[in-house]
Amino acid sequence: METVKLSETQKKSRRGRNIALGLVLAGLVALFYVVTLIKFGGGMAH
């Protein structure tokens, strides 16, 4: 095992990728939530 120091460019690009991935995951959570409401919403009401 070894350690390395990230350059500023690497840190910046990693942060950008992390933010994008976070947004995608949050979007997926919202998407599944709304789909569940649409698919089962009517059934639960009865």
């Binding site: 390395v4 460019t9 690009s13 950008g16 789909v35 649409i38």
Partner: protein
């Protein structure tokens, strides 16, 4: 400070490789310009299909089709990285530019493929998901891995992959495949050869340098030009099929006829282009017109549909 495994990356043997790829580079892997055409044609298929779909489910359907198409683009870039690096048109793509490693693109493409198909199946229906999975398979395995480097008919057969989106959009609403959705498929399928061979004519040097057997390189300019005219005629005919089959109005039919004549006219200009013409202006014009043609045909179908709905709701008779 970051902990890393002491593994070796391709082209970076002996040195640990830390990515400097941005989220935008990954987005570029999805071929956003191709994706826009996929989104538009899939949307057209979804709207034109008889029946209704919850707007949010419809949005998810289009999103999944777009992501699936993008994923197949990423897998295409993974497989074709060697030739992309040589061709001027593709040399700046993220893999040949050194921003993303091939195996990263492979993982990205496979993950998005799986997610798009599964979500489309769970949220919409499994026929549409199956068609999307088949489209990705067809584009990546049949076209990219097999046909592209082995036959001048590569884009004729491979064009099917680009023609599926409106059929998938249609299947999202109806849960089936019908003559109408096959006509939408045919319009794009028959349009593809004239579109790509126009590009292949003015990029002949590029394709020749990497050994991709495009029609102009294998059969010569004259044969390619004649076949472009034949496919332009077939495209023009398929463009008016919606009217002939009764799912679009006479107004649409007239518009599609004019557009089709334009397509044939531009293809005839390519036919008249002198052998060995370096500037290839008619081919470039045909390429540009072909893109406008497809957008215009599908836009006209959508407009025609909206007008028909408004007319019906107003109590009119068509």
């Amino acid at each position: 400070m970051t902990l890393i495994d002491n593994h070796e990356a391709v082209g970076m043997e002996g040195a640990p490789r830390l990515s400097e790829a941005s989220a935008r580079d990954y987005f570029e892997l999805l071929k956003p310009r191709v994706m826009s055409l996929v989104v538009f044609t899939a949307f057209a298929g979804l709207v034109l299909a008889p029946g209704s779909i919850n707007p949010f489910i419809g949005f998810i359907a289009i999103l999944c089709i777009a992501i699936g198409a993008g994923a197949s683009g990423a897998l295409n870039m993974w497989y074709d990285a060697d030739i992309d690096a040589v061709m001027s048109r593709t040399a700046k793509r993220p893999i040949p530019a050194g921003k993303i490693l091939p195996q990263e693109a492979l993982g990205f493409g496979l993950t998005l493929s799986a997610f798009s198909v599964i979500i489309l199946g769970l949220a919409v229906n499994w026929l549409a998901a199956g068609l999307l999975a088949f489209t990705i398979f067809f584009y990546v395995v049949i076209y990219t891995m097999w046909l592209k480097r082995s036959t001048p008919q590569n884009i004729v057969i491979g064009g099917a992959a680009g023609a599926f989106p409106p059929m998938i959009g249609w299947a999202c609403v109806t849960g089936g495949v019908s003559v109408e959705s096959i006509v939408l498929f045919l319009i794009i399928f028959l349009w593809t050869p004239a579109h790509f061979w126009a590009l292949a004519l003015f990029k002949m040097g590029d394709y020749g340098a990497v050994g991709v057997p495009m029609m102009p390189n294998v059969c010569g300019e004259a044969t390619t030009k004649r076949q472009i005219v034949v496919y332009a005629l077939l495209t023009a005919l398929s463009g008016i099929c919606p009217t002939l089959l009764g799912f679009a109005s006479l107004g649409y039919g007239a518009f599609a006829t004019v557009l089709g004549l334009g397509f044939v006219w531009y293809s005839l200009a390519v036919l008249r282009m002198p052998e060995g013409d370096k500037r290839m202006l008619p081919a470039k014009k045909l390429f540009a017109f072909s893109i406008a043609y497809l957008f215009a045909i599908f836009s006209a179908l959508l407009v025609d549909y909206v007008i028909a709905q408004v007319w019906l709701n107003a109590g009119g008779i068509i």
